[in-house]
């Protein structure tokens, strides 16, 4: 009955859901998870390039968020708060795993290249595929901290300040890491770019 009640409340505001979840209402929290599940799964997937790891990390981020809800201050962005948790978990995971996956290790269907069907001819598509794979591979070889900044900036399109808050580092560090990450990628992709 409780489940039904909250399942019909999809239009409910995030603040209300958070307030209920804070009181222990797990179904309200479930609604919040539904809203952000893709975002954090793909973030983790970009970072780890492993479906299993991304699945685990995304779930763990939400579970941790639920248990830490009391420390969440109302009026702040729930998404940004979970970003912090997720990135923290992911970076720790990568550090533990010393995560470096070669192309051969990459699980099937983890990442796919954009197929711009119809517009580009076959040879152009091949070059683009090659470049994308190369970039992917080079990103994987970046240190976890650099990779996190690059991904948050390039794919999540966060500002320097947001990245700094998420990773709990200074804005200057964000600038520095991003600059160096790009520099490395440009260096390794010199013949492709």
């Amino acid at each position: 009955m409780v489940e039904k009640k909250f399942k019909t409340g999809a239009e409910e505001t995030e603040d209300k859901l958070i307030a209920r979840a804070k009181k222990g209402d797990i179904y309200s929290f479930e609604r919040l998870v539904e809203r952000y599940q893709k975002k954090f799964y793909y973030l983790a997937l970009r970072m780890t390039r492993s479906h299993e790891a991304a699945d685990d990390l995304a779930q763990e981020s939400f579970i941790k968020a639920f248990y830490s809800l009391k420390s969440f201050k109302e009026g702040h962005s729930f998404c940004a708060w979970v970003y912090k948790i997720c990135m923290n978990l992911t970076i720790n995971y990568l550090k533990r795993q010393k995560f470096t996956i070669s192309e051969s290790q990459l699980p099937q269907g983890s990442l796919e290249l954009v197929e711009d069907t119809g517009k580009a001819d076959a040879s152009e598509q091949l070059v683009r595929d090659e470049l994308a794979r190369k970039i992917e591979n080079e990103i994987d070889h970046l240190p976890a901290e650099f990779r996190a900044v690059f991904i948050l900036k390039t794919y999540e399109e966060l500002s320097y300040e947001e990245i700094a808050n998420t990773l709990k580092i200074s804005k200057g560090t964000v600038m520095s890491r991003l600059f160096r990450a790009r520099e490395r990628l440009q260096k390794s992709l010199k013949g492709y770019l």
Partner: protein, 415 residues
């Protein structure tokens, strides 16, 4: 500004982190510097290429169950977490917080000291009790002549209190025997006994020379509460506790409850009497000392007790007969008291009121005294005294009784 200085600014410009003025400055520079314009182009190309990597679309079923799986996992962990949180909290407390650890260790130490102290205290108490018990047992195993050790401090104290009143007389009203309770204990293994005397009396006419402690207390109360009602009921209990030594098998010890109120109402004539309860001669080493302060319905197995109907002491002749070697633990002083009290009786009473019981009491007392002290002149004095009474009485029955007693006393030496 040199071209090299624009390196980082190009990144900031590309990321939209510069304000309008700075952006304009960069834009102007880019128009003139081909090198910097190429760097900007590289950045754009890198981003485009990176964004060209798309992520796989997962099946809708996966997304439908994702939130549900999160919920289930939370519920599952909640169930587990009660114990695990306690455990992790405990670990965090002890392994990650030295200050807390020190506090906990301090509290634990204090508790430990308390527990050890309590255990030690209990042990010490039991030890003292045991030593005390042993002392009394030892004292009771001392021969009769060294009797003073037999008395517990409580008994000694009460005896001292009574001494001055030894010459007083006692007029006994009908004792409410029903109120007196004799407690029979037949448990040989018991090592402690207590004699409790309860007092519950109306102090209508308390005698000034009441010997008993209860009497003194009653009087004190009376003086204290002079303005109070004289008929007010005074309820006090005095407990005389004595450590009972180990009693061997087959020994029955009589402990009694004496109504102190009754005592308080009686004239203070009765000196305290030490009774040596001796069921059989074999048991004399384990005899029990107790105190009796008032006439009471004494049991027959008590060798000596104050008489009920007369104000003199009586020796239980049946009990004496039961003794095989005629030895006894009855004190010589007590026996002399028996003799003197009966002598006093016969002096004060006319011959017509004399009772043959007194003759046999005197005879038994002399008999026991002789057995105890082997004092021949004393025995002769007894024979002489009984002969005097024999000369005085006219009743043949009495004469026969006295003849019999004299004969028994004379026969004692021959034995």
């Amino acid at each position: 500004m040199k071209c090299k200085d624009f390196d980082k600014l190009i990144h900031l410009y590309f990321d939209g982190e510069l304000d309008a003025g700075e952006s304009k400055e960069i834009e102007e520079h880019l128009l003139t510097c081909q090198n910097c314009a190429a760097k900007l182009q590289e950045l754009k190309k890198l981003e485009e290429s990176a964004k060209g990597v798309r992520l796989p679309e997962l099946s809708p079923d996966y997304w439908k169950t994702f939130a549900e799986r999160v919920r289930n996992e939370i519920i599952l962990r909640r169930r587990k977490s009660i114990w695990s949180r306690l455990k992790s909290g405990w670990e965090a407390f002890f392994f990650y917080s030295p200050v807390k650890l020190r506090i906990a260790a301090g509290i634990a130490s204090i508790l430990l000291v308390f527990i050890i102290g309590k255990l030690y205290w209990d042990y010490k108490g039991k030890e003292l009790e045991r030593v005390r018990s042993e002392r009394i047992e030892k004292a009771l195993s001392i021969p009769v002549q060294q009797k003073p050790e037999l008395q517990t401090p409580a008994v000694k104290e009460s005896l001292q209190t009574k001494k001055p009143a030894k010459e007083t007389t006692f007029v006994k009203p009908k004792p409410p025997i029903a109120e007196q309770k004799a407690l029979q204990i037949s448990t040989p293994s018991e090592s402690i006994s207590s004699v409790q005397a309860e007092k519950n009396a109306e102090l209508q006419a308390p005698s000034e020379s009441v010997i008993s402690l209860a009497g003194e207390k009653a009087q004190g109360e009376k003086e204290k509460g002079a303005g109070e009602s004289k008929t007010s009921e005074l309820k006090k209990s005095i407990t005389v506790t004595a450590e009972r030594p180990k009693i061997e098998k087959g020994v029955t010890v009589n402990l009694r409850t004496v109504n102190q109120a009754e005592m308080a109402m009686k004239p203070p004539s009765l000196p305290e009497t030490i009774l040596y309860v001796q069921k059989s001669p074999e048991d004399k080493r384990t005899a029990v000392t107790t105190t009796l302060r008032a006439p009471a319905a004494a049991k027959r197995d008590e060798g000596l007790y104050p008489a009920e109907s007369v104000r003199y002491y009586k020796v239980d002749t049946e009990w004496v007969r039961a003794l095989t070697d005629k030895d006894t633990l009855v004190e010589a002083d007590t026996l002399k008291k028996v003799i003197s009290s009966w002598k006093e009786y016969f002096e004060k009473k006319p011959v017509s009121e004399w009772t043959p019981e007194g003759f046999s009491q005197i005879k038994v007392a002399y008999e026991l005294l002789f057995l105890k002290t082997s004092d021949e002149p004393l025995r002769q004095a007894g024979i002489k005294l009984l002969n005097q009474y024999k000369d005085s009485v006219t009743d043949q029955k009495m004469k026969d009784e006295l003849t019999k007693n004299i004969f028994e006393l004379e026969a004692l030496k021959k034995k």
